[in-house]
């Protein structure tokens, strides 16, 4: 019995394609394992250029394209509605916004969760801040958002000025100042403590953030 030429070619092509898919999944497995490594750096490097990102805005279900460095300082909060610490950060941001402390800043809550997730959290459901879902995993990777909450301060030139976990109002104020201060004064931004990555992460809460050479914090 002879196999038709087409079938012989097709089976090899299919085998080759399955192999490629296997490699893709294998690489993803490696990334996932790296992501759960608690020693992995969190947040983008201070002083680096912030990456552009796309997100689906929950308010009107439209896709928005954010280009840091467009002249508007930006405060990005990577949060998840199912994360209690993130709820605290959202509340702190809401309080600061209500008090007018974030005026002149573009504040954006970014999540990887679908819109329906917002309903599980009072803080997310009621916030007046702009909230959206990141559309590409590359965005989270570009910002080093390996865990939440993560607050990233970006100045008007699109340069990352601070990136760290944060949940408290005082930290939000410090980050907003980092966004707004002119370059000459950015060197003196003091950020003293990191917020816990998770509620039980007391060790992280007690660890002070280290100032970097470029004036930000990690």
């Amino acid at each position: 019995m002879t196999i038709p030429l087409y079938l012989a070619v097709a089976q090899w092509t299919l085998l080759f394609t399955f192999g490629l898919l296997l490699i893709v999944v294998y690489r993803q497995l490696g990334r996932t394992l790296r992501k759960t490594d608690t020693a992995a750096p969190l947040g983008p490097a201070v002083g680096s250029a912030a990456a552009s990102l796309e997100y689906s805005r929950f308010a009107d279900d439209t896709v928005q394209y954010l280009t840091p460095g467009d002249g508007q300082p930006t405060l990005l909060a990577f949060v998840e509605p199912t994360c209690p610490s993130c709820e605290k950060l959202v509340l702190a941001l809401g309080t600061a916004e209500h008090a007018g402390e974030l005026s002149g800043l573009r504040v954006l809550l970014l999540t990887s969760s679908p819109k329906s997730y917002l309903r599980v959290s009072d803080a997310f459901r009621t916030t007046r801040l702009e909230c959206g879902r990141i559309l590409a995993q590359a965005t989270a990777e570009a910002y080093g958002a390996t865990s939440t909450p993560l607050l990233v301060a970006i100045d008007r030139d699109g340069v990352v000025r601070a990136a760290a976990p944060a949940i408290q109002l005082a930290e939000v104020r410090t980050f907003s100042r980092a966004c707004l201060l002119p370059p000459a004064e950015r060197e003196s931004i003091p950020i003293t403590a990191a917020a816990p990555r998770h509620e039980n992460d007391l060790e992280a809460a007690a660890r002070p953030l280290e100032p970097t050479e470029k004036g930000g914090v990690r």
Binding site: P4, L5, Y6, L7, V9, A10, Q11, T13, L14, T17, F18, L21, V24, V25, Q28, S52, E54, S56, D61, T62, V63, Y65, T82, S112, S113, P114, S116, Y117, R119, V120, R133, I134, L135, A136, Q137, A138, T139, A140
Partner: protein, 180 residues
């Protein structure tokens, strides 16, 4: 030459199956790319419908091309689609350089750039090779072989869909919503 043409044909069919399935795994992301090429404001549900339609179209043509090799008109259709890829890549390079093309959904992080245009041209070239005449004897498939090909193509589509879901954002299941 026959082997080359059949390789090109099956490879392109697999590319279309993988691309279509991967896009279907996260239509919202692909819809954002579709939006780039529509010059006027379009409602999000319509964009999603277009994205799903394009993805299903790619998947259907890929499946048909792989499992119905004797229909030569499908080769011309695949070539036309490949030419459309070149056009889209060129437009993306001209007007949306650096934006994600999501050509393979979450499986690839390719952007609209010069390399993307080159890749599309290569794909169109491969599609042109697949247009070469192949003897009818080489394309003869009995019912069992055809069923096996359909099963393999379906498996490939599911594998690509699953891999794209794993790589894409927001792959977690919807949470239970407690009554407020």
């Amino acid at each position: 030459m026959e082997v080359l043409a059949l390789c090109a044909k099956t490879a392109l069919a697999c590319v279309l199956i993988v691309a279509g399935s991967a896009k279907l795994a996260d239509p919202a992301s692909f819809a954002s790319t579709v939006r780039l090429f529509i010059p006027f404001r379009v409602a999000w549900p319509l964009l999603s419908a277009i994205a799903i339609g394009v993805s299903l179209g790619e998947l259907a043509v890929g499946l048909a091309s792989l499992t119905l090799p004797a229909i030569t008109a499908l080769n011309a259709l695949v070539f036309a689609i490949a030419c459309a890829f070149v056009g889209v890549s060129a437009l993306g390079y001209a007007f949306h350089r650096g934006r994600s093309c999501r050509c393979f959904g979450a499986l690839s992080q390719r952007k609209f750039d010069a390399a993307g245009v080159l890749r599309s041209i290569v794909i169109a070239g491969v599609a042109a090779v697949a247009l070469a005449h192949v003897g009818a004897a080489a394309l003869q498939l009995d019912a069992t072989a055809r069923l096996l090909l359909i099963a393999a193509a379906g498996l490939l589509a599911v594998a690509a869909f699953t891999a794209a879901r794993v790589r894409g954002p927001g792959s977690e299941p919807e949470p239970e919503v407690v009554a407020q």
